[in-house]
Structures are given as structure tokens and as C-alpha cells.
Symmetry: C2
Subunit: 478 residues, 2 copies
Amino acid sequence: MEEQEGSLPHKVDFSGWYNEILWRAEIMDVRYPVKGLYVWFPFGFGIRKRVYAILRELLDRDHEEALFPLLIPEPEFMKEAEHIKGFEDEVYWVTHGGTTPLDVKLALRPTSETAIYPMYALWIRSHVDLPIKVYQVVNTFRYETKHTRPLIRLREITSFKEAHTVHATWDEAKSQVEEAVTRYQEFYNRLNIPVLISKRPDWDKFPGADYTIAVDTIMPDGRTLQIGTVHHLGDHFSKTFNIQYEDAKGDQQYCYQTCYGISERSIAALISMHGDDKGLMLPPEVAPVQVVIVPIIMKKREEEVLQAARLLEKELKNAGYRVKTDNRDLRPGAKYYYWEMKGVPLRLEIGPRDLDNNVVMGVLRSGGKESLPRGEIISEVDRKMTEYISALQEHAKAHIKDHLFIVKEHSALKEIVSKGVVAVHWCGNRECADRLEEISDADILGTEVRTDLIDKSKGNCIICGKPEAVITLVGLSY
Amino acid sequence: MEEQEGSLPHKVDFSGWYNEILWRAEIMDVRYPVKGLYVWFPFGFGIRKRVYAILRELLDRDHEEALFPLLIPEPEFMKEAEHIKGFEDEVYWVTHGGTTPLDVKLALRPTSETAIYPMYALWIRSHVDLPIKVYQVVNTFRYETKHTRPLIRLREITSFKEAHTVHATWDEAKSQVEEAVTRYQEFYNRLNIPVLISKRPDWDKFPGADYTIAVDTIMPDGRTLQIGTVHHLGDHFSKTFNIQYEDAKGDQQYCYQTCYGISERSIAALISMHGDDKGLMLPPEVAPVQVVIVPIIMKKREEEVLQAARLLEKELKNAGYRVKTDNRDLRPGAKYYYWEMKGVPLRLEIGPRDLDNNVVMGVLRSGGKESLPRGEIISEVDRKMTEYISALQEHAKAHIKDHLFIVKEHSALKEIVSKGVVAVHWCGNRECADRLEEISDADILGTEVRTDLIDKSKGNCIICGKPEAVITLVGLSY
């Protein structure tokens, strides 16, 4: 991938930047011959693998991973009325096996409630079987009629992590919702992605849920991206699928459930939050290559430099770093360009002069060049990585701060919401909400906002002026 | 899971044993309401995860993992004539999105050649792009009309690892086939599953391949299970999908390809090869629990024993073992039964008398009870694990030996093939093959057999008597 192929659009043109970086950094190939389906390049898959390893690590603390079928028979799928309404226009149907029409049509799961819950009805007998906390990482399908976009709006969501829990009481399910929100917060902390957490308005909750807590982030263009949701399902599904347990007194009781999911949108957020005009900027934990070594070859001392690079690579690998030495027959500038595009946190350059001075030149992807003493290279690389992570965090936090506004006058709403997320006071009344969305030409994201970036004290409803109105986020969402 | 639920059938009744162990050991739930689709229980998924981690580790040495879409548009799927013939009766078709009929029908991949190779045509430009070695682990689908069986004959193959390589020459592709066979051999060595490797007869090769090398094992009932295949695809697909490279002289050349796959049949083999009348016997590397600690509680010294168990668990975990202490309120016998069913390699019992004697009682799942000095418990557990692995290996090897027969007289064929795999001399002639399959009422597995368990010198064809005939395996296969 050479510079002459043209360059990455500036990130201020976010849409152009996003589309280009996906292939320039070899994340997704968008040329697959079906709309809304994309191919994970090996490099992109390397990021995905590490991001999902974090998610699994967090869940494996007290969840178990399982795997349920993709195909859901029509009668099961059609059992929960609200759920059907939410998904019926978006479901892909398998109607034929070979040339034979199937007796029972099969849905490609758009989400797995109707695949999993009939099994839960068999698994759960008694209160001692509870709670159940199971998750799976699977491909799910939505027949999207809107504009599709890689990692963001897909027809095959390739990497849906969905957890499904079952509890004895509504309150225990509520605690699990809180627990899941905390876990998701931790996940995005690990990726250095600041999030806004709020309770979706009732008309925007998951079909079949009591309520939905959503995790959003703000993309570079100020629009929000929903990157996680947690649903309290009450006993709606347990009544539909007859999921009961025998309580300590021997009575049959309906269970209470939650479900929560994260998809490859987490990776869209990762790319978008940290990248810059030069390409990706990956957090070290999920970077397929953490350190790239570029030997600066001069004809006379070529073998000596290559030997030093090999030794350096070995030492860093032994210390646990994922390292690549770029020995390709390209000029150093082309190599810098290539690895910067791929978001490698640290570049180490090593040439004859560095050998003489017993140093290695370190260039951090977030900026800054520094000569590092060769003898303490491991602790120096550790230090640079810490510096890099701080830079990512600072930058991401500043981005969210710069795109989060408190608005008191509805005349200012529409203009400001085009720049980012707006916090307003809203009385909770549906008519005020409709008016608010109409004026702003944006959506209410939610209430019960969890962030320390804004003052959450109550105020007068921005529409009707009623006092004691709560802070509500409004934004243009992907 | 209590003893009173009845017991596992003896393994000599293999079919009964297999069906029962799947739920008793919590591997698969077969009650999903669609034929041929099954649910991975968390425990089974824990085995799967570790088995596939080995496979990935072996491939990651020089392959890259990627991910291609599930849905293949009909025109792509229909491009390779032989391939279509091989799969058209088995393909599930998606015909509707929501209530809208799709313009282009979409196949659920039965295998991914037709999804991947159009992308390879875009990825490959020049000889410097070669070789390509990419794999993915995905769900694939076959509309099986035969009797389905969990892990063995499925409509959703949940765990298909398929690798697809591209090379400049036919010979390089041939070398890759050999490399893949070696890698698969290594994989099954790690699982302590002896395999028979042979070249499938021409009429049984992969649709669209030049030739197929297959990996089979012998199940407890003497029938063979194909648990891996490696295909030399020649240039058939590269011509169909126009996968060309520019050679060093600047001329366009068609590429040569291979593909090779392993599915969850690897886990069917794992379960079947090592299990016994009491349940699973898992190799330590893939066992979700490697050591179970059972505290033997006497009222008087309960807290002391529990404390000792906790300490033991901690020590073993620090040494890297996956350990579980079973503190449930059940009598020890019920616990033994439970963990034996789940194939835990080593059980450690710890009671008041063991505390007094400063020992732990070790019971290996393969048999034998031994008092282990508490002070050297880590090295003792290491030693027992080695002993256990040897026992698995010995047992498995003996099983294959006992079920592999050389037959010289065709009158004996049918009877002996009902007991296991038969090696005969066959001249290579199709008519002799047909007669051989007719007499034995079994299938030719293949020639060019790779095993040191039988004498492979040439002889007279068992059908026509022609000399210089080669050893060929014949068996009843799943």
C-alpha cells in the first residue's frame, strides 16, 4: 500500500475518512457482492479477536459461554407479540432446503431470545438453578433497508455478543442490569472509549423489554453511536416461553430476565475515536502489532543493523510485546506511512548512528520522537506505552467534552445538536418529547444519564417550562 | 444430575452410550425444536473452545484468520459446475427479507469457496502476493436428509474451521496439502486421537478438487468417522473465479489452490475415543476442569478440611491448573459420579485422616488410587497427569490396532469389515472397486495409507488377483 495510491481524507471529513480507512488499514473489504455484507481482512480480524477477548474475559468472571443455533423456527419466532413487531420487517427467511420447500420456515436470528428461551424453559426447574448467566458470540442478521455501513449498519452482524440471564425476582434482574452496565463501562474503559449511558425513552426500548439502558459514544462528526444495550425483560418472555421455577415453598413462579449485547460497532467506535489523519491509533491491548522496528539500512553496515534489529525484536517479544520488524525493500518513509495507517502504538528506528550511541529512536503514534537508551529498552517501551495510553485517554475525553453541550433555550437546539450531543431538561411528558425531537430534528437518547461530564441538577423543561425536569440527552444518531 | 436418573449405557452399546453421554456430561442439548440443530451447553462449549484453541495455535504459525460472510449470492454459488453438483441438494436458500422476496437468492454457505474466491481474485495481483494462507472458523449449513446426529451429521455445523490457500504452481499447492496433513496429524496427536490418513478414491473426492486426502478415525463400534479433509483444488476454482497473478516475467498466470477443513466431528471423536462406561475422559489440555477437589467432611473437623481444600485449590491454580472444589451438599459418591461423567482427569480427596497424614488422595479418571504427599503436590499432580495422558494414548492406540485388519480373502471381507477397518490389496481398477464395495457392503476409504500400524507392501488384488496392487482401506463410515 503505497503513498501514490492517494491519501486518507482528513478526519474532519469523517464519512470519507471512515470509508477509506477501512480498506487502507485493512480492516474490512467492502467489495463483497452482497449489500451490507463485508469481509474481515486478517488485520481487522486481529483487532476483533483482541477486543472480543477482553469482552469474554470480563464476562467469564461469572457468565458461561454457550452456543445456540442460528435458525429459529417460525412458530417460536412468532410467539412474543412485541418482539415480532420489532423485528418482522428485518428478518431473513430460509424457505428452501435444496430444491425442497421447507415445512416450517426458518428465521436467521436477528437476536436470540426466541432461540434461547425455549431451552431455558427446559433447563430451569428450581430456584437452585438460578441465576443463569449465559452468553454467546454469534453472527446475527437484519434485512436493513436503510443505507448500510461497514461495522455500523450491517445485514450480517458478524460478532454479536449477547448475554441472557434469568433470575428469581424483578429486583434481582434489575441488579443484573446494573452489573451489566458496569461491566460494559469497564469494557469501554479498557478500549479508552468514553461513553454516555442513559435510559432510553419508553418508545425506544427493546421490543419486549420493561426498559433499556443504552451505551452511546460520540463519533468524530458529533453523531452518536449506540455501542451497547442492556434490557430488563421483566417476565414478558418467561410468560411467553413458560420459563418457571419452583420456589423454596414448592410453588411455581415465572422467572425474570435480562439480556444485553455488544456488536462490532464497538470496533467502529474504537477506530473512529482514536484514529487521526494518518490512520488508526490502536490501544496497545488490542493492537495486532504493538511495536514495529524499522531498521535504517546504510549499505556499509547493513548486516550489523539487521542483526541489532533481530536482537531487539527478540528481547521485546520475550518481554511479551507483539513486535514486527519491517525488512521490506522500501524506503523508511513508506514504512512509516504504512504502520502509522495501521495504528501501531510505537515505532522503533534503529540505524548505524543509533548503534554507535547505544540508543534506539522511539516514535509514538500519538506524536513525539525520543531517543531511548538501548540498555533499558524494555522499561523504556513500557514507559512509552503508558504515555501513549494517557494520550489516547486525554484525547478521547477532550473529544467527548467538546461535543457535549447543555442547552437551556430551545431556539439554540437545532444548531447545537448538529455539533454534538445536547443535554436539556425534559419533564418526561411525551408531547414535550415529540416537540423536542421536532425542534431539534434529533432523537432523545435517554434520561438517568451517567456521566460526570455534565451537571445533572434538575431544571425547567425546555419545552413546557415545568420545574423539576431531569437532564435528558438529545442527539443525531447513526 | 443424580444417580437416580438412571445410568449411562455401557459403551459396547456405542450408539446408546453416545446419545446419552451428550446430555449427561452436558455437552449438547438435543431438544432444540429443529431437526439437526443442537445447543452447546456451557460445559461442552468449554471443551470446544479449548479444542479450537489448539487448532488456531497450529494454524496461526503461518496462516492468518479472517472472516467472510455467511450468505452467498446465487450467481457466485452457481459458477463452478462440479461444486454445484456436489452441494445443490443440500443448500439452504434465503428467499425473503422481511416479507419482501429477494431479487437474488442467498445460499447459506455449505462451505466457503464461492464466498472467498471472488475476494481472492481482488486480493491477488502479483506473485509477491503469494502464497495466501487464510482460515476462518464459522457456522456452515447442510440440508441433511439422512439421519442427523449431534456433532456428526448436522444441519448447522457450528464450528467449521476451513483454510483456503493460494499458490503460484501446482507443486506448491501439493506441498501445502502435505503441510496441512502434517498439521492435522499434529492436532489429533494433541487430542490423543490416532488417525488413518489416506487418499480418497477419485469418485469420492471433494466436488471441484484434483484430489482429496482424508483423515479418519475408528469409532468404538468399528465404523469410521471422517474428521478432516485436505483438498488440492488445482486451477479449477481459479479459472472459474479468475484468480490470476502476474509472474516475474509480467505474464498473467492462473493460481493453484488448496482448502482443508475440520469440524466439530473432532469433538465427536474426542468424546468417543476416550470415554468409558462412567463417562467422558478428557485430555487435560482440553478439559474445562482438570482437577476436582472433593473435601471429605466429618462434622467435627469441617472447617479445617474446607480450609485445607481452599489452600490446595489456590496452590494448584497458581501452578496453572483449572481446578474446581466441589463443596455441594452431596455425599462424596454422588460427586465422584458427577465428575467422572464430566471426564475430569484427576480427583483429589481430602479428609481429616489425610490432613493428619499430610497427604491427599489422588484418583485418576483412567483408574488407580494413590496417596500423594501434600508437600510435593504440584509435582505429584504433574506426574499423575503424565501418567493419565499415557493411559489415554495407550488405550486409543490399542483400540485402533484392535479394529484394523488385513484381509487377503474376499470371502472374509463382509464379516471382518463389520468389526473395523479392513486393509486389502486393490489394483486401482474401478470395476474391482465396485465389486469390492459390493462384497464388503462397505466403502473404500482410500489408498496411499499413512500409518505404521499395518504392513503396506504390495500384493495381489483381492478381486482380480492382479499383482503389484496397493493397500487400500475399506470400512463402514458414519
